[in-house]
Symmetry: C2
Subunit: 199 residues, 2 copies
DNA sequence: GTCTATAAGTTGATAGAC
DNA sequence: GTCTATCAACTTATAGAC
């Protein structure tokens, strides 16, 4: 999955999966290391064989979540000149889709940042700046090329992220909508703004 | 402010204000009752003279936050037939404005719901259903009247709430944008969808 | 690598003096 | 209504047997 951490033992992976469920359901602070260990069918002390601390485990989750989203965005094809709208809509679909499909991990990654150490928080901030930058580029380029119109690319990128990320607050599987439904809805709402007549 | 709780002592109000800051900064679980008491210049045990428990204090914050937003929405003028777009944009402005202007309290109200008791949670869910219902009505009516077009009013109302609420994740005073800026941006993005050509 | 036992500190809430 | 003192329970993390 991630070249920077290829050799996780199965116990470590079970701990990460258990922690994702616990943190997503109850929050980082309300989750005890025993909760996590039990979810992984291990006993209390065993967590510390695989992770330096509870915070270290949280960092591993948040770091890999942002890494996955970055990888998905980097896989999108570059736009031909004049077709920046295609890349923007591809990105909206990708970000929405990832947050829906990984809504538990995404909830942890988006809500538990303040519980990271300063160093870890800084490291994640860099990943987040990279994501924001990737989303901003085609919006600015498309505006300059006159392909679509956007009063403030910074606020438009915030809107992309707000609509995509906010699903973590309310999405539940087996609900009314699929990930594709939600991605399509976000694309339609946001592209209507870019293509609105009477600028 | 709120007819259902008119006689808070100044100590109680200082505790509520201190708890808002602490919960918004560190989360409900990471905040201790001593943190709250100290912020209100009181000592440990005094909190329990004014509130039955830490959870009771949280409920009071979340309940009044939702009450304030409901009151603001109810104050908007009813639309003349055919001008439902006016009410929808008024609502978008109101919801965005309230979340920006009260971003600390709003953060608590939107993120700490799972820490309420079942009874209190149910009570807040009813307030939230009332808000969602108030936002849905003019969207549906305007669609039926052909004033604007909306494929799925439920998803559109979610988009209103997502764009308005998500400011609590990143807004900071003294930043680049005012509440009016953000309200205006949300109105423009969302109304462009309702008024898009080629339905 | 897993377990049990335990250390050292913190928590929400109560009791009782003033 | 405020304070200090305190309880009982719980927390992260470590130590040492297997």
């Amino acid at each position: 999955m991630d070249a920077t951490q290829p050799d996780l033992s199965t116990s470590a992976r079970r701990l990460l999966a258990g922690a994702t469920e616990c943190f997503a359901a109850s929050g980082y602070q309300a989750t005890t290391t025993r909760d996590i260990s039990n979810h992984a069918n291990l006993s209390a002390g065993s967590l510390y064989v695989h992770f330096k601390s509870k915070e270290d485990l949280l960092y591993e989750l948040i770091r890999s979540a942002h890494g996955e989203l970055l990888t998905a965005l980097r896989a999108l094809p570059d736009p031909a000149a004049g077709s920046e709208l295609q890349l923007v809509t591809d990105q909206i679909r990708t970000v929405t889709h990832w947050h829906v499909e990984n809504h538990l991990l995404a909830r942890v990654a988006q809500t538990e940042l303040p519980n990271l150490s300063d160093e870890h928080h800084q490291s994640v901030r860099e990943q987040r700046a990279a994501i924001e930058s990737m989303l901003t580029t085609p919006v600015v380029t498309g505006c300059e090329a006159g392909v679509f119109q956007c009063a403030d690319p910074r606020l438009f990128v915030r809107a992309i992220l707000s609509l995509s990320i906010d699903v973590i607050r309310w999405y539940a599987p087996n609900g009314r909508y699929t990930a594709a439904d939600l991605a399509q809805s976000n694309v339609e709402i946001l592209s209507a703004y870019l293509l609105r007549p009477g600028s």
